[in-house]
Symmetry: C2
């Protein structure tokens, strides 16, 4: 994707030569109003950098996996569930999602929430929560309301 120029310009949360993609390519995992742009993906780069953006009120899938997510918020405000807590997040905050931590992002009502997400190129597939996992998460302090909105 970099044959023409090593610099790809940014404008209004789109980048030159970067396609706007569906959040997920397959499956029936629940999510709402979210897109994906792959910013850096090269054969000689072991990490892959993606940009996800949720429309106001949108949310990602509640899931977990063995691979780590390294996240930086790029625009907007929202909340994220990581492992067993919900955190408020805003521009340039870092979110570290360790192996097998349940996680989910949700945009606030008034603005989109966009974030960079670094992953290993070689990574496992996400796992969805079972009813029993969800019940366990709902029992944790402060998680019930968040999960009712998003799951």
């Amino acid at each position: 994707m970099s044959e023409e120029s090593p610099v790809r310009r940014f404008q209004d949360f789109r980048w030159q030569q970067v396609d706007l993609l569906a959040y997920k390519q397959e499956g029936d995992a629940p999510f709402k109003d979210i897109t994906r742009q792959v910013l850096f993906q090269f054969p000689d780069l072991d990490g892959e950098l993606r940009y996800f953006e949720m429309a106001p009120g949108g949310h990602s899938t509640l899931e977990r996996h063995q691979h780590r997510h390294a996240v930086m918020i790029l625009r907007g405000h929202g909340r994220c569930l990581v492992k067993d807590k919900v955190f408020n997040v805003g521009p340039n905050d870092l979110v570290d999602i360790a192996a097998l931590s349940w996680h989910q992002f949700k945009a606030d009502a008034g603005e989109p929430l966009g974030f960079l997400c670094l992953v290993n190129v070689l990574r496992d597939k996400p796992q969805l929560p079972t009813e029993s996992d969800l019940a366990e998460l709902r029992r944790l302090p402060g998680l019930s309301a968040f999960l009712t909105e998003t799951c």
Copy 2:
């Protein structure tokens, strides 16, 4: 570095639990007014995400290496030399620095230039230009003035 909380807050281009470091840890490579913060570096992450910031008028070292740099500008405006051309860059622009491409960043006079840089954890050391390399670069259209300012 994430034992306390998975979320590390951003304020004024510093992040919680992230040290402000010297740009380089060793050697006598030329550079000016530049710092480094390592945002994500974990044993199970194959990529490493750093934030570099140059004070107004500051610049990075002119160098090249086998490993790829995947760069996103986070603040400010400046110029970067990549391979054989100089480009203007601004917030959220992407810069792809392929294997063995000479590269150097310079902040404009009026504001700092800060950028994210993704690299492989396993990577080779930078090479500095010889006098002959510099002479060759200076002969390329538009590079002479840039190099006179920074080298």
